[in-house]
Symmetry: C2
Subunit: 354 residues, 2 copies
């Protein structure tokens, strides 16, 4: 299916990699100086002279940034008339692209310089460009702007889209008690309470996270339906309690290495009865329906390396299924690509003895 | 000729821009951790497990970096066996690609974050990541490593390839006296002295540059053939002296804005007789014979913006010809794409009165 590249094409592709950061910043400048928007507002095209005349940007800026944008295919130029291209339109209007650009520039750009070091040390060595924490999770609530806004918009974009469809799947069998493992700020638990007035929830997470979740639950007057269980799942001595109808892990396992994932799933397995359903929601990078999504998710893995914790990543769906089996569970259903989201839900249960 | 992109393709292209810096750094890591070389050494392919086993890099590093490299088309993977692609081969072996990668990473990467600011202020606001100078030219000899090595390798790669063919063209009419405008360290002047034992040279440049050129000329025992003329060509009161058979400007005009270029060429025009030939050597970005070269030269313009001086750039050949005409000169011959170089020589002279 894939055509072999000629040497001339391969050399060009290599330069696209080599000057990727430079052209990225040229698009940021094209956007932040209002040039891209101005061109987008003139769908039939606008002359370069008009752009120079109407905008604050210097003639030098406009000419050079358009030369760069033309190479990237962000604009099309013909006889001094500039038009926005489809790629330019996505840069201007598409939410995924907007969120990715800002996340790259505001959260990851400077830290990415320390990528090799991060891999060598197994630590997010780029994080020091934002603050002095061992992982980004300790710093989230106090990130400097614009990193904070860009981080939360990115997180929101890739997480929340999954909720509506996920709720339908999880509540199909009317669970009475749901364990939200790695419940973080409680967003999923609150969505569950909203979805089903009878469900009760236990959020399991590190004490520092539970504090945030509890404060949020208090505000939402949900303390009678949600309780909290402090646990460090990297400590195998700490067991997940029994009794859940559903054990839910949403974008939680991708924070861990393969060995750690097996440990955590074994812990879930010992807590499960024959009637417990274990749901794993993850964006698997090889289970996407268009290449932009695959591309974004692998970039997100690299974000984990340099900024988040230095050792987690998005997984292939096949790898996760192997880890599930290894932990004594079995996948009984796969719900892929729910709606406009990037996620797949694996429905699992304790493997029955033969 | 260009096929219209589908929306899915355009969205993918937009993400390639958006995560360009992240993937750039992943290739740097792939290279610096020795993974790319190791794969290149096994042309028939090597298993991921073997890579993990033989190299220092962690399993996590190898898996994630290969996931990124596969998307970029740097490697090809089939059933756990990895092979280097043509693009990967260029990253590993091609001098242009090597020089561009290092220049991007060591000289420009951090400074590029200040691109918008550089355009707004007309100053190289990224330069502060390397040192405290108004332009990079004041800092060249004291740049911190590895920026210094990468800067000089880049400069060398794009300049020196042009010399052999340029000497043949310039010395066709046996000039006796050549003015080397913006002679910098004297490299071109020394090449001229070497090429023709009878030629005499006058290097015209800023006093600070002349000091370097003079020291180099002393070392090469060329003081009897080269003399030095201090001049600031942005000061229109300072005139280029008369008497040259050839006025030579090599990658000099691209350091200036269009208005300044006209001023400088007018200055050359007043110094020229009917028998003076004015040669302009420049890498015009639209006069290249493959797209990687065009791409690299526009990126070089952006380097001028963020790191060098904030206001110069590579030009289109048509624009330069217009400026030549505007200054009272005429282009009598164009020598494009000399050999393996990226340059074009414009041979000009004073326009004759009709």
């Amino acid at each position: 299916m894939k055509r072999e590249l000629s040497a001339v094409e391969a050399k060009y592709e290599a330069q696209k990699i080599a000057f990727g950061p430079m052209y990225f910043q040229s698009v940021i400048a094209l956007r932040d100086l209002g040039i891209l928007q101005f061109i987008g507002d003139h769908r039939k095209g606008v002359s370069i002279d008009t752009i120079v005349e109407k905008l604050e940007a210097s003639e030098y800026s406009v000419h050079l940034l358009l030369e760069a944008a033309e190479i990237l295919g962000v604009v099309e130029m013909e006889e001094g008339i500039v038009r926005i291209s489809k790629v330019g339109f996505f840069l201007l209007k598409d939410e995924m692209t907007r969120v990715n650009m800002n996340f790259m520039n505001d959260v990851c750009y400077l830290g990415a310089k320390n990528m090799t070091e991060s891999f060598v040390n197994g630590k997010p060595e780029g994080l020091k460009t934002l603050g002095d924490w061992p992982t980004i999770y300790q710093g989230l609530s106090i990130l400097p702007e614009p990193a904070k806004t860009s981080w939360f918009e990115f997180d929101h974009y890739y997480s929340d889209n999954a909720f509506p469809d996920a709720l339908k799947i999880v509540f199909r069998k009317n669970p009475k008690l749901l364990f939200d493992i790695g419940g973080n700020t409680g967003k999923w638990s609150f969505a569950c309470c909203d979805h089903d007035p009878n469900v009760r929830i236990k959020i399991l997470d590190l004490p520092v996270q539970l504090k945030v979740a509890k404060a949020n639950a208090t505000e939402k007057k949900l303390l009678d339906r949600i309780d909290f269980h402090a646990i460090d799942l990297l400590d195998t001595a700490q067991k997940i309690p029994q009794g859940a109808d559903v054990i839910w892990m949403s974008q939680f396992l991708d924070c861990f290495s393969k060995e750690q994932i097996v440990q955590i799933l074994e812990n879930a397995c010992q807590a499960a009865s024959e009637n417990t359903t274990i749901f794993i929601l993850e964006p698997f990078f090889d289970n996407q329906n268009y290449p932009a999504a695959h591309y974004s998710l692998v970039a997100t893995s690299l974000y984990f390396t340099i900024m988040a914790n230095g050792n987690s990543k998005m997984y292939r769906i096949g790898v996760m299924k192997e880890l599930v089996e290894k932990a004594g569970l079995e996948v009984i259903e796969t719900y892929p690509l729910i709606g406009d989201s990037y996620h797949t839900i694996l429905e699992c249960r304790k493997r029955r003895q033969a």
